[in-house]
Amino acid sequence: MKSCVLMAHVPDTASVIKVSGPGDRIDEADIKWIVSPYDEYALEEAIRLKEARGGAVTVLTYGPERAQQGLRECLARGADAAVHVKGIERTFADALAIARVLAAAIRKVGPFDIFFAGIKGVGSDNSLVGAMVAEFLDIPHVAGVVKLEIGDGKLTAHREIEGGTEVVEAPVPCVVTAHKGLNEPRYPSLKGIMASKKVTIQALSVADLGLDEAALAGAEAGCRWKALALPPAKSGGTILKGEEDPAAAARELARLLREQAKAI
């Protein structure tokens, strides 16, 4: 089966976030960029599918120049091909614009039998792109998958919901978004790293896809960030000493939560 993995290149989850000059985006100065952790599950599932059933794995991303590093990492883990659509900064937080671009890129470089993405891109935390791409391609999607079986022309996916799982059946092609628990992603092997260097990443521009950059960020845009702020810092918590008399500390904590915080 030919699969396509949608990858987002995001700030490392250990990053300290700072706001940049114009006040509507992050300061990228000290940020280390990584493949979004949920996309690692997506890629792993695609590679396992290839190992079990044959086929090939293409990784696709929309982003600035640095996103190529993310594609290289995916190649080192076992993807066969990579496609990079270079984009304009203003659209990077707009799931609708991202999905329009990815769907157009899929039409150009496809067809594929199945699509994988992470349940969300860590950072923008939208959880929207997978379903939006599916809608633009007019195919089904299943989001937040923790278990997947692929049969003949259809798949069965377990999707996490509050307090349980839904068992969903869908025909392929289908977009599957991966949740933690789907698999244990592998690390890149030395052999994989060496082999990945020989792969030429296919570079495309938004215009190559027949889309208009100005419209994507303007009339066709889905959302725009007007401001970015850090949450107010907390300070001055009441910290009790409980090493010597834990019972007394516990009593005082219960009293404070009842009388002061009115939380219990």
């Binding site: 700030p11 869908a170 949740h179 959302c223 725009r224 960030w225 834990p246 939560l257």
Partner: protein, 324 residues
């Protein structure tokens, strides 16, 4: 006049509390500029629930009641929401940011060619358009965003906006049969053992981290959680160690939560964990290391051995409950 349309989620015929929160917030927002608030209820055999939505602010309730909509499907429900949008031409569609809402919202937004402001914690109307505040980078920052000059889908984080019942009875109208394919079909729903409360929906969360030393000691966390009617949370370290299912994980690669009370036991507070819970209203930390970063975000804390402190705290809470 263009108003707000609220998608009402039901499971087995019961309307979800988070949807009533979204509806109540729509009413509060609409009151100033005098906008109409409508609701759309989708499912099978659910019509009886429609009129009571008036108490939470719906002037009109559009009902899509069909056998094929009895179980959730993004495609079928998106078709129903679009039919409702065509009927009332809203400036925004609100949904609860539940597993269903976060799944459906992308489908609906793309189908309408609109954007979606996901998992918002604050929402306003400015010049007739919706502007929302949403945590990004798992709450390390807050973005203020709008629909870029168009109507927009908004998912509202559960437990952030109060659900307020008042007076009122909604006018109920059936939607014509919803067409379109349903290709991804829910075959069955497997409930988790013990049907534990989910951290994403809980008003109180008691979490355990590496300090609890072993999976068997989650019994202590569960005991306190049960007493408080709380969900059980966990740090990434203990989920990765296999001590508890990942559905319990709170943090940047788990669930991002905003309960009224969050009690962290034996959690040092890695930046990814803090990102996932620091917007909780009251944070309590119990940890033996006075330098643990969790104490920097805690409103209350005890430095001590959790194996002594937590049982003592359980006794104290039990006493308070007995007095009440």
């Amino acid at each position: 006049m263009a108003g707000i349309l609220v998608f009402i989620e039901q499971r087995n015929g019961s309307v979800r509390k988070a949807s009533l929160e979204a509806l109540s917030e729509a009413r509060r927002l609409a009151a100033g500029p005098g906008l109409p608030v409508s609701a759309v209820l989708v499912g099978h055999g659910i019509g009886a629930k429609a009129a009571e939505l008036g108490r939470y602010g719906a002037g009109k309730v559009l009902v899509a009641d069909e056998e094929r909509l009895g179980r959730y499907s993004a495609e079928g429900y998106a078709a129903a929401v679009r039919a409702a949008v065509e009927k009332c031409g809203p400036v925004a569609v609100f949904m609860a940011a539940t597993a269903l809402g976060r799944d459906l919202s992308g489908r609906v937004a793309a189908r309408l060619g609109w954007g979606c402001l996901a998992d918002v914690v604050g929402v306003q109307i400015e010049g007739g358009a919706v502007v929302a505040t949403r945590p990004v980078y798992s709450g390390k920052a807050l973005a203020t965003a709008d629909g870029a000059g168009k109507p927009v889908v908004v998912t509202l984080r559960p437990n952030v906006f109060p659900a307020e019942a008042g007076e009122g009875k909604a006018e109920v109208e059936a939607l014509p049969q919803v067409g379109g394919d349903i290709r991804a079909v829910v075959k069955e729903i497997l409930a988790k053992e013990g049907a534990e409360l989910d951290v994403a929906e809980a008003d109180v969360i008691v979490s355990g981290g590496r300090g609890i030393k072993g999976p068997e000691n989650f019994a202590l966390i569960r005991e306190l959680a049960k007493l408080l009617g709380a969900a059980v949370g966990a740090s990434r370290a203990v989920v990765d160690a296999g001590w508890i299912d990942h559905a319990h994980q709170v943090g940047q690669t788990g669930k991002v939560v905003s309960p009224s009370l969050y009690i962290a036991c034996g959690i040092s507070g890695a930046i990814q964990h803090l990102a996932g819970m620091s917007s909780s209203k009251v944070i309590v930390a119990i940890n033996k290391d006075p330098e643990a970063p969790i104490f920097k975000v805690a409103d209350y804390g005890i430095v001590g051995d959790l194996f002594q402190v937590v049982p003592a705290f359980v006794d104290e809470v039990r006493k308070l409950k007995a007095e009440a």
